[in-house]
């Protein structure tokens, strides 16, 4: 099993009563609520926390892209990744961007270039996630959600071809047309940087990732849904002749370790409450703007994710394995159970939530690295013994 620390880099100082005044902390939540002086401190604290995880032996440190929200302050994840690459020089740590929101970009060749630069500078340590961006971002960025999936696929094709085929060549698509694709630099990894597909569980994405052998990472979903989605990935991989599907699966829960279960709950829950019930929620028309998903896909995603309108409580988070919280013993036990049920290679952990203090975040990172990772690294999954088998 491989371990990754993930950070949202939120701005956790929400306007009092913002829920009554605005539809959510996305799209139209006034940016007068952002204090750049506070933000200056936050960026540096957050980046240090991820570097700390790298120093303690996490296999990777990972970031993502969001726009016009206090939920996550990495509208350009590649900028943060560039800093993480430089701060982890000489370490084996991967730097994962989970991911670049391709349909929101005007020119995919620019994405190919930036990631190739990062891959070369880091000496081949980049994990390149590709995502569509969440629905709210289509309101923010003026990109027509009806074109989202087609733009995503075509931008992906441009980027992977630019990375892996000798230039110059021409590319003729519906959205992107180039007379000369000839990307300098070429990426360090051959044929291209490791590609991940983080998703909320759209069936089309699962199949798309499986067909290409990309690592599929399931974000925030009840474990029963994750079991089902992972099996769909395995079925699709078998159909396309992709070997070792479990080694291409990733799961992303929040993980928090403290001295005791009670202490972990006390420290974690107020911050998880802020995340799940304040920073994250969006009304339906922002999560799923018209045409963002096919009607059929939307129904499936809604069914998999459960009632999005309902506020989340700690018991629910724990019982569906969305949050793995407690003493080291409890956390190891739950992660082993989850690994037995799911069978995956990549564990992407949300190590910080809401307004969790720097001290508690670093404690959490340290405990995961020292108490959890050594115990779990070679855990063999009952679902698929291939993942966790001691490496030859």
């Amino acid at each position: 099993m491989k371990f990754y620390a993930f950070h949202f880099m939120p701005y956790p100082y929400l306007e009092e009563g913002f829920k009554d005044k605005y539809q959510s902390d996305w799209v139209t939540y006034p940016n007068s609520n952002y204090d750049p002086v506070v933000g200056h401190e936050l960026y540096s604290t957050y980046i240090d926390q991820l570097v700390y995880a790298a120093e303690l032996g996490f296999d990777g440190i990972t970031v993502n892209e969001h726009h016009q929200t206090s939920y996550g302050l990495m509208p350009s994840p590649n900028i943060i990744a560039a800093m993480l690459v430089q701060r982890t020089m000489g370490m084996p740590t991967k730097v994962g961007i989970l991911g670049n929101a391709l349909p929101l970009r005007q020119n995919p060749l620019r994405v190919a270039e930036e990631l190739a630069m990062l891959d070369v500078i880091s000496g081949g340590r980049i994990i390149s996630g590709f995502v569509r961006g969440i629905g709210a971002e289509y309101h923010s960025f003026g990109v027509n959600p009806a074109e989202s999936r087609d733009r995503f696929r075509e931008a992906h094709d441009v980027i992977v071809k630019a990375w892996s085929e000798p230039g110059p060549f021409s590319f003729e698509g519906e959205f992107f047309n180039y007379r000369y694709v000839n990307t300098w630099p070429r990426p360090f990894q051959r044929p291209h940087p490791e590609i991940w597909s983080p998703s909320t569980g759209s069936g089309e994405t699962v199949v798309w990732a499986a067909e290409r052998g990309y690592t599929y990472v399931q974000v925030f979903s009840p474990i029963k849904s994750v079991i089902k989605i992972f099996d769909e990935y395995r079925d699709a991989a078998a159909k396309f002749g992709i070997p070792d599907p479990s080694s291409r699966l990733g799961w992303a829960p929040a993980v928090y370790v403290a001295d005791s279960d009670a202490q972990a709950e006390d420290e974690f829950w107020p911050q998880a409450d802020m995340y799940f019930n304040n920073l994250f929620p969006n009304p339906m028309h922002r999560l799923f703007p018209p045409n963002y998903m096919e009607e059929k896909t939307l129904e499936r995603v809604l069914a998999l994710r459960g009632d999005l309108d309902k506020s989340t409580d700690f018991e629910t988070l724990k019982s569906n394995y969305t949050a793995i919280v407690g003493s080291a013993e409890t956390v190891i036990g739950m992660l082993e159970e989850a690994h037995d049920m799911l069978g995956y290679e990549h564990l992407v952990m949300y190590v910080h939530m809401g307004g969790l203090s720097d001290e508690l975040t670093r404690n959490n990172i340290r405990r995961i690295a020292t108490d959890i990772m050594p115990k779990l690294r070679d855990h063999q999954s009952k679902r698929d013994a291939a993942v966790g088998a001691p490496r030859a």
């Binding site: 139209t28 027509n144 009806a146 339906m284 703007p289 018209p290 045409n291």
Partner: protein, 245 residues
Amino acid sequence: MTTAALPGTHEVRVHGDGPDVVVLPSFVGPYWTPALEELTSSFRVHLLELPGFGDFAVPREARRVTDLATVLKVALADAGLLGASVIGHSFGGWLAIELALLAPPPKLVLVDTLGFRIKGEPRADIFDRPRETVLDLVYADRSTAPTDWEAVEDRRNVAALARYGWNPYLCDLSLVTRAAAISSPTLVVWGENDRVVPATHAQLVADAIPGAHVQLLPKAGHDPLSDDPSGFAAAVKRFLSSEER
């Protein structure tokens, strides 16, 4: 894009005696309103489903309103309705303008049409709001509105509108220039209390189309056919029946 004729003309209802008149409805959906009933004494009224909406499927590559107009032109030609006058309401108005540029009808009526913008003039966001509040924007008075809401409560109607009107918002920036090529005599009808496209747009549209006249309806919002049926029917009858341009 493909313009293969699609089966049928997607007529929701045909009624009345007299010259053919094609009605292209708003994005809310095709409803047979009292306003249309009043027109049937002088015209044979064909209420159509919009291409790209409901069951009127269009090729996936049809991403612009002019593509929809191409599909519609073929369907109307098949049905022998290309010589009919056209009433286009809201999104149907935008489509009617594109159709008039491909196949000029004898007369063109545009009702609270989409497709234009006055730069800097705020318009409400139909898409960044709960679906069930969209109709509060459309009707001056919800009590006069049709009671069958299935079509709009079904999110597919708003989705079809979003497909063509997401960005730039409910308009085509080239339309104001291209509209100069419309040769059909044109009446621009607008509800003064329109909260989707403010009535200030009426004159802009009329100025863009050679010889077009404006008729404002004080009692109406974005849907004069429901908000002021008799005012609407009287204005349209007068225009369609007159000899003058």
